[in-house]
């Protein structure tokens, strides 16, 4: 796949603070890449560097194989959508869409043609004569997307575009953005702190922490084979259970043992040999534990708290001195204090080194 955006050794520091350090990232043509991380991790900074709104202290940025490191934002072939919509308040929707094109001195018929196309794609025809203050949040964000659309660019940049919307609108617009990407096939770079948006929209997710990409992979890999404990804990809600313990040998086979309880590691695909005595952390997602089901190995646990969530039911269990969260179907109810049998799906579990917190 041809690269649409390439970032080479990008660094950015504000005074003594290094926000980004030697960051490398290649984004394929037509790819939907999500930059995911908590606030302050540098994801928006990275996006602003790609847009040309921030000057990097070092490194290069290529868009469509052209070095744009020193180019003005308007010459980079990008369109950007902001969290606060950033619509020009004194202009009508139509003026908002045409502003950039007028600045570029584009002939009027061409401007009209582009506005008509964007209007049709986003279905904002009835809004054209209105001012932004007369629009709802969802409509405003649609217009903001339209403003990127009329620029007819190769790369779309989204800076937390849905964070100001309420939950219902957010899920609606999320689907719309996905549909937009499927029909346009543009490269899209999307910054968010919302893991659901990341998992649903992305072709690939780059999880960032303090300016460093922790893992860059497709959502499935990120979810099921997180590279370190940060990624594992960041993705998934409720978050992954972490059990601290160590590797022990039983009959020549490695097992995970914690507080005197053994977990067979059959089915776990370890990248390294599991040497007995090594301190490790076992990570198990709440939905990868079955309650009172069939399993080769079962563990005794008691229900501490039950949190019914409609579609499913979250149990907080006491097991071997740990508190475990386990997700079961919404119809299966357990009274507090009930004794249950657990079996763990080790094929989907993760094992991390206790020191480095890296996946083993």
């Amino acid at each position: 796949m041809q690269n649409s955006v390439s970032i080479k050794d990008l660094s950015l520091s504000f005074g003594a603070v290094n926000v980004l350090e030697n960051l490398n990232l290649d984004i394929g043509d037509g790819e939907f890449l999500v930059l995911l991380g908590s606030s302050g991790c540098g994801k928006s900074t990275l996006l602003n560097c790609i847009a040309g709104l921030l000057e990097p202290t070092g490194g290069q940025i290529f868009i469509k194989n052209r070095n744009v490191t020193w180019e003005e934002p308007k010459d980079r072939g990008i369109g950007m959508v902001f969290q606060s919509y950033a619509l020009y308040p004194q202009m009508t929707v139509e003026k908002n869409l045409s502003f950039g094109l007028q600045v570029a001195k584009m002939p009027r018929p061409e401007i009209d043609k582009r506005i008509a196309r964007a209007t049709e794609i986003l279905q904002i025809g009835p809004l054209l004569k209105r001012k932004p203050s007369e629009l709802s949040g969802g409509q405003r964000q649609r217009v903001a997307i339209g403003r990127a659309l009329v620029r007819d660019v190769d790369v779309f940049l989204f800076d937390e575009p849905l964070s100001n919307l309420d939950a219902k609108l957010r899920s609606e617009l999320r689907v719309e953005i996905k549909r937009l990407h499927q029909s346009l096939r543009n490269t899209m770079i999307y910054v968010t702190h919302d893991q659901i948006e990341a998992l649903t929209l992305a072709d690939r997710i780059a999880i960032m922490k303090s300016g460093v990409i922790q893992q860059l992979a497709d959502p499935n890999t990120i979810y099921n084979a997180p590279r370190n404990m940060f990624v594992a804990g960041f993705i998934g809600s409720p978050s992954m259970n972490f059990l601290r313990g160590e590797i022990a040998g039983r009959d020549g086979r490695p097992v995970f043992t914690t507080n005197g309880v053994d977990f067979a590691l059959d089915g776990y695909d370890a990248a390294e040999t599991l040497r007995p005595g090594r301190k490790v952390v076992l990570g198990v997602r709440p939905e990868h534990v079955s309650v009172n089901g069939e399993g080769a190995e079962t563990h005794q646990a008691t229900v501490d708290i039950e949190e019914p969530m409609g579609a499913d039911n979250l149990l907080w269990l006491k097991h071997a001195g740990h508190t475990l969260s386990v997700r079961v179907g919404g119809a299966r109810r357990f009274a507090p204090g009930t004794a249950v049998k657990l079996s763990f799906d080790m094929g989907l579990a993760s094992l991390f080194d206790a020191e480095t917190e890296e996946r083993i």
């Binding site: 040309g52 003005e72 308007k74 950007m80 950033a86 020009y88 620029r151």
Partner: protein, 309 residues
């Protein structure tokens, strides 16, 4: 049979009863209100009294003033003091009243206000949005300028203006007013522009707009309140200025305030209190009108500009 049917109590009865229902009733004439409005009333009267005395005195003839009842309304209303103050009161050699000073002040205030606001708004915009190397230091220096007493700078400025050949002219005074308005106005505009969402500026840059296009087409239309604030500050400040007027101009181009002083403080002849009052009211009329006309916008702009530093 009929008593077995109990309807829920209508709202009206519940309201009349002792049970609390809906909004808590408030008495208009509570002790608290009397204290509050009483104090406000007394304070208002205290500040309005001098104005009242001035207006009343300016409408009396001199014989009536000599009776000494300064609070009594005029027995015979006369506008002659006003006419004299405007058209024929003497200051030094000129006996054409305050009208000369009024037009001088207009010729000083209008260009000074316009130029200083234009320059300061562009300054503020550049400082808020186009951060350049050393922008913060530049800004700090500018702000420090606001705290240096004017008196320190008067003599050097006199020399500078003399060397430029514009000492004693209106042009010189306009330049002085423009420069001295810079620190506070730049601060005002910078704070206002930094409070506008930064993403708007970014969006405009992605749309390809340059320095002036963003300023004229995005920032200006959003900044009416702060322009009104700056205009009020400048118009009243420059109109009321006495020090620069008396130092940097010559008698024939004295602004209204300086002329007023010369009328009121003339030592020869009888003190014409009615003319003095009328002259003072005339001089104060411009800032007063400006406040009345744009007070609401002023408060809005001050509130908006004061939020962020």
């Amino acid at each position: 049979m009929s008593d077995s049917v109990t309807l829920p109590a209508p709202a009206a009865t519940a309201r009349a009863g002792a049970e609390p229902w809906g909004a808590k009733p408030r008495r208009a004439l509570s002790g608290r209100n009397i204290m509050l409005y009483g104090t406000l009333l007394v304070a208002a009267l205290y500040y309005l009294l001098p104005l009242y005395v001035m207006i009343v005195t300016s409408l009396k003839g001199m014989p009536e003033i000599r009776l000494g009842n300064i609070f009594s309304p005029p027995l015979e209303i006369t506008f002659e003091p006003w006419a004299k103050a405007w058209a024929s009161a003497c200051t030094g050699l000129n006996c054409d009243g305050l009208s000369r000073g009024f037009w001088n002040s207009v010729r000083i205030t209008v260009p000074s206000t316009l130029i200083s606001i234009l320059v300061a708004s562009v300054n503020g915009y550049a400082l808020a949005n186009w951060k350049f190397r050393g922008a913060d230091i530049f800004f700090t220096i500018l702000i420090v300028g606001a705290f240096i007493p004017y008196q320190v700078m008067i003599y050097p400025i006199v020399i500078v203006l003399r060397e430029m050949g514009i000492y004693g002219t209106l042009t010189g005074l306009v330049i002085v007013h423009t420069i001295f308005g810079m620190p506070i106005l730049t601060l005002l505009f910078r704070n206002y522009f930094s409070a506008l969402p930064e993403e708007l500026f970014k969006a405009a840059r992605i749309d390809g707009a340059g320095f002036w296009q963003i300023y004229l087409r995005i920032m200006l239309p959003m900044s009416l309140p702060i322009f009104v604030v700056a205009m009020i500050l400048q118009i009243t400040g420059i109109w009321n200025d006495f020090l620069f007027g008396v130092v940097f101009t010559r008698p024939e181009v004295y602004p209204m305030t300086v002329q007023l002083n010369n009328i009121v403080n003339s030592v020869q002849g009888v003190k014409e209190y009615n003319v003095n009052m009328a002259a003072t009211l005339l001089t104060g009329a411009v800032p007063l009108i400006v406040y009345f006309v744009s007070g609401r916008l002023f408060v809005r702009g001050i509130a908006a500009g004061a939020v962020k530093g």
